[in-house]
């Protein structure tokens, strides 16, 4: 959308206007109609959407209750310990996790850390500006972090290496590359996919109490031990043992918008500002509610509405977990704890 918006906002720029009139002239008679529809959409976005919704469809051709096509790609960034690229329609989020060894904290000596950060890269939409992280990005990060902690997605005791001494800090960075609505859903799915495919390195503690990831320089102790047990095996050939993360639940969320008494599922960036209220329901695989978010909006939500949204989220959860399972199997990491928890 931004493309067309900016093309029209440049009266002094000869190129697009020429091209536009050329396109209008060259195209079939339908071309100018398309242009008129575009002008109508820009001038009266609310009426434009209302005309669609009255017919039970959305401007992108979806029925009101259908979420957009979703895809999950795992292991797309090789420099990260785990990564996932999630697309919901054209909303795109790239998540990457990096694990670092940290000294155990005094408050929670037997727990590691999970830090979730959301960054909206300035290239994600025409409205984003470089500079300080936007309010939306910070809010998303906080919401996701609170969900991970509150719903107990990852038991952080798994991140303990040596109680009171060392633990893992997992940094989960989410980059919104294309912001086309329902960002929370896409971010949560990317976070979940990344954590489900994350493998923690085996570690060794040397005499000086320093900790090394197995397979890295200075971690000679572990492979040597392995080699002693199995004299036949080659030191280099032995793959460093990796531990998968046990996820206690698999949260999936769905955002619904209220528009003129109707519920629009998985709204796009074009629809979002026109909606009267946005409801986001997060459910786990049993269908229990892990979170619900409705921040203001001009419409209030009845209990009925809330339940409708939760029902839709449950349906969506089944679909999305299926996709995640497929992606994990395709990436060959499906044997882990995430699956056990999911079944």
């Amino acid at each position: 959308m931004g493309r067309r918006r900016s093309a029209a906002a440049q009266p002094r720029q000869p190129l697009p206007s020429q091209a536009m009139s050329a396109a209008a002239a060259a195209a079939a008679p339908g071309g100018s109609e398309a242009l008129q529809a575009e002008a109508f959409q820009r001038l009266y976005p609310d009426q434009y959407l209302a005309k669609f919704v009255a017919q039970g469809v959305r401007p992108d051709g979806r029925p009101l209750a259908l979420p957009r096509a979703t895809s999950i790609g795992l292991g797309v960034v090789t420099t990260a310990d785990a990564s996932a690229l999630v697309k919901i329609g054209s909303t795109t989020v790239l998540a990457g996790a990096k694990c670092e060894v940290m000294p155990a904290s005094a408050d929670e000596p037997d727990k590691g850390r999970l830090v979730v950060q959301v960054e909206m890269a300035p290239l994600c939409s025409a409205e984003c500006r470089p500079g300080r992280p936007s309010e939306a990005a910070q809010a998303l990060g906080e919401q996701l972090g609170a969900l991970m902690e509150g719903a107990g997605v990852v038991d952080r005791r798994q991140l303990c290496i040596d109680a009171g001494k060392a633990a893992w800090a997992v940094y989960l960075d989410l980059y919104v590359l294309d912001a086309d609505g329902s960002l929370y859903d896409a971010c949560l799915l990317a976070a979940l996919a990344t954590l489900a495919s994350l493998r923690l390195h085996a570690v060794t503690v040397d005499d000086a109490g320093r900790i090394h990831k197995a397979g890295e320089d200075g971690a000679a102790a572990a492979p040597a031990a392995v080699a002693q047990q199995r004299p036949g095996s080659q030191q280099q050939g032995a793959a460093p043992p990796l531990r998968s993360l046990q996820l206690d639940c698999q949260p999936v969320s769905l955002t619904c918008g209220v528009y003129r008494g109707q519920l629009l599922v998985d709204p796009t960036a074009e629809e979002e500002p026109l909606l009267e209220a946005l409801l986001t329901a997060t459910v786990d695989e049993q269908g229990d509610v892990l979170g619900f978010y409705k921040a203001g909006g001009s419409a209030t939500a009845s209990q009925q509405r809330v339940l409708e949204c939760i029902e839709a989220a449950k349906m969506r959860g089944k679909e999305v977990r299926g996709l995640l399972q497929q992606a994990l199997e395709a990436a060959g990491v499906a044997d882990g704890g995430a699956v056990a928890a999911g079944s």
């Binding site: 931004g2 000869p14 697009p16 420099t79 990564s83 890269a121 290239l123 025409a126």
Partner: protein, 267 residues
């Protein structure tokens, strides 16, 4: 450390004068006017262009030409060690400036007075040569956004290790301590050099050799990018011929029109 084996192969198995595998996907983002994902081996860069549009700040407006704004950022997980790169990062600022200056010389800013073009580059995965990959990605995104340009601008690095000139260094080679020459050229204007960066002690003869190799690399990169742009334009033209110009197709075709021919001054 041995950077070139006795058989003449490098750490990643390439020959000294071999580029890494190049990949480009155009128009990958829905909201940007132009965007491109460019890969040189394991280095992955995403670039997006917004504009040309009216200048946001009146005070920055230039009556004679367009202003170019540029922002370079690295994903926290893009490098081996996770590092929080602040916005005030000096290295990022320097790269931003190099990219902006290169593109200012390439875009025909004088045709777009009082306007502004925003260029954002995001490094998703870094394995040496991010600077070059960024310039190439930004060029592709600009071309997709139909911004008029003087020429293709292609960037490539070359270095010198183990008495051998090496093209397109990866991270390991970059860290090898030899000279690293970054060049960006306009290949259709007798290889006019737009950007040249080199910060290491090096003999003049060596420098010449390395520079020559880097320019040859740029030409190869330029050919690759031109090919991808032509392919992209043909696909758009085919889509339009197939009558796909309802709402969305109309915009795409419009941009394809002028997108094709930025290469030479046709104005």
């Amino acid at each position: 450390m041995e950077y070139v084996s006795p058989e003449g192969l490098r750490l990643d198995g390439r020959r000294p004068k071999e580029l890494r595998q190049l990949k480009a996907q155009l128009d990958v983002l829905s909201t940007a006017d132009g965007s491109a994902l460019f890969e040189m081996g394991n280095t992955k860069v995403l670039a997006a262009v917004f504009g040309p549009k009216p200048t946001e700040l009146r005070s920055q407006e230039d009556e004679k030409r367009a202003i170019i704004r540029c922002e370079y950022a690295m994903a926290a997980f893009s490098t081996g060690e996770r590092r929080r790169r602040g916005k005030s990062d000096r290295r990022a600022t320097e790269i931003t400036k190099a990219i902006r200056n290169t593109l200012e010389q390439t875009i025909m800013t004088e045709l777009l007075p009082r306007s502004q073009i925003d260029i954002y580059v995001q490094v998703l995965q870094a394995d040496g040569g991010t600077r070059c990959a960024c310039i190439n990605a930004a060029f592709l995104a600009l071309a997709v956004a139909a911004v008029p340009m003087r020429d293709v601008v292609a960037a490539c690095a070359a270095g010198y290790l183990d008495s051998t000139a090496l093209l397109d260094l990866n991270y390991m080679e970059d860290a090898g301590g030899g000279p690293d020459v970054v060049v960006a050229v306009h290949p259709n204007h007798s290889n006019r050099v737009v950007l040249l960066q080199q910060d290491n002690r090096v003999a003049v003869e060596t420098f010449e050799e390395v520079m020559e190799l880097a320019v040859a690399g740029c030409r190869a990169v330029a050919d690759f990018m031109r090919g991808r742009l032509l392919e992209h334009t043909r696909a758009l033209a085919a889509a339009r011929a197939a009558g796909e110009d309802g709402g969305g197709g109309g915009g795409a075709a419009m941009e394809g029109d002028s997108g094709e021919e930025l290469e030479d001054d046709e104005y």
